[in-house]
Symmetry: C2
Subunit: 406 residues, 2 copies
Amino acid sequence: MLSFERSAALFARAARVIPGGIYGHTAPAATMPGRSPYYAQRAAGCRYWDVDGNEFIDFLCGYGVHLLGAQHPEVEEASARQARDGNAFNHPTALMVELAERLVGLVDFADWAVFAKNGADVTSWCLQVAREHTGRKKVLKIAGAYHGSHAWCAPGHGGWIDEDRVHIHGFPWNDLNAFHDLVRQHRGQIAAVITTAFHHPAFGASELPAPGFFAELEATCRREGIVLVLDDIRSGFRLDLGGSHRTYGFTPDLACYCKALGNGHPISAAVGRAELKRAAGHVFLTGSYWNSAVPMAAALKVLEIAQRDDAVGRIAQAGARFRAGFEEAAAKHGRALRFSGPDALPFVTFADDPDFFLAQRFCQAACARGVFLHPHHNWFLGAAHGEADIDQAVAAIDAALGALSD
Amino acid sequence: MLSFERSAALFARAARVIPGGIYGHTAPAATMPGRSPYYAQRAAGCRYWDVDGNEFIDFLCGYGVHLLGAQHPEVEEASARQARDGNAFNHPTALMVELAERLVGLVDFADWAVFAKNGADVTSWCLQVAREHTGRKKVLKIAGAYHGSHAWCAPGHGGWIDEDRVHIHGFPWNDLNAFHDLVRQHRGQIAAVITTAFHHPAFGASELPAPGFFAELEATCRREGIVLVLDDIRSGFRLDLGGSHRTYGFTPDLACYCKALGNGHPISAAVGRAELKRAAGHVFLTGSYWNSAVPMAAALKVLEIAQRDDAVGRIAQAGARFRAGFEEAAAKHGRALRFSGPDALPFVTFADDPDFFLAQRFCQAACARGVFLHPHHNWFLGAAHGEADIDQAVAAIDAALGALSD
């Protein structure tokens, strides 16, 4: 058994001075209470070490941020070099212009780009841009989709009021009938439709777009004058270096990126079509650190390396190998489970496991064998997951599946 | 004359791919179009260099972030050391616990702390905590006060809808009658009062709290069950290392910090009383980079050095010397102007200058002489402003005031 003694001791201290001890998406209650690390020490490539010295092959990639693997030497070199000159100034640096030019060159429909820190900074701002552009209030979103911790969409927790959501209407993923019903019901009042590139709800299998789903969303938005917003925070640059809309064959008006862009350095971005540039210029957008140079130096290097090294192709290959090995191990142990989502961001759900208790037991067993998985949040692969890492992880997962029956 | 040729060339490129070229609080339109740098190159201590190689003594401090001066060697050493181990992980690091303990030890009323990236992350979240705690919707704020770029309070720009502000009610700074009117009008419905420690509106002189103002706010909040939120984003740790409420003799229930905390590294924080811990645990709070280790390593070092070196005292001294020299130069040139705000975050407005044109001309003249000031946003001093720097700046300001009459 691994020891999580230091994690537990730190958490006991934290609980006295931090509400919940650890909050948000990294809260232990959200993973495997008592059976997983609570605090990290360091990371390198596809591995990390917790404060008890336990080593894990990481299939969360820092919840998606490590596209190229943690501590990628060239990214760290570029960011450290910029850090010697400075990070936050009274003005942006030339890096902001270069990065905007790079994104406009990379994302086919993008005519402009802006930068912030968090995913929610840009998803919320894009809805404001859509409202400014259209003069309308309503927003359609996929029911159960996460677009950040802001009041208009934070998952079922406290602190939001009815007014935060009175103009937010949800429809089920892939349900075009429900979508068209909402469009009819609120015709002329809908500013935006916001969607992820595939559906990756918490506590549920991931779902890819059905054939024609995005084509119909896009055609309807064009016809009705609705702004189509792609929340590509999780999947952006992991499925296609030109943005995940290319994977699924549609074209949004605005798109949001974050996770993979900085390989661990804090940056998010929104890009958009020329038609929306005027409205974008009229919606206030700022934060103390949104012009910061270090994450922009990192992002430029990330995009350069991802292209040079075909990160997307390598991640897809690693993901396919992982899935094949995982499914083979599951078959061997007679476990009915479902691999869902694209190979680069896979997720596994077990049959007859409505409360995710089996998933939690399985993830605990994998964790005890040095593989970090999440029982109810999609996983992430990165370009640092080599064949040997995948094979080692699959062997541990094989053993973990075996131990489930003990 | 200084040349801003490279800034102008970069801005021309930027305008093609970024709405407005530069957006938000660092937009050139907000300072001195054509007569000031648009892009920074590097910074050190109280000085920075723009992309044209011009050197400035910085009285904005990166809009407040450089408490100890840019690129403070010990802060940079601590952050670079953490950067070698990693920044964003699947979990927080021990630094988050240490930093929460440090803030709870430092801020007298604080029983707990949480961390985010931007000021608005925590000001908006504190209002949610107040709503969760009280079960009420309404928020009172000072008219014209800035609490971040979120829709409920972004300054007069597009993209927000009536519903974002239907429960936000403003009253003039220091106007207790207007405050009491609102409290009477909305009795039992007010979740929070949010205020800065002194009033620092854009396009206006700063205003200190009138005697009794905060005492009355606090007493009323206690009596009415309203949560008192201090937005200490700009002034926190610059007026008192225990928080700016100590400077003005009151005690909030929640307080927000950002700017000075990381000395250029991206971090914000909220702290609160024990009574609010339960509600705080129920309001979702998360972001991809909010647990990141590097800014927490920086913040711990910033607080250590600020205490050891009496940063607050040094900043106050530098600010007093700056003010004395400035006022003497103004008298010499027969310029009627008003120094407002605390010496650590001063601001200067000219008499008979309702459109701030004279302020802009003056700031341009100072900029041409190597001193960066802002015509309509409060200034910031830091612990790196030495006597020689202040004297050099005052001499340049003297010349700039003289040139105004030419």
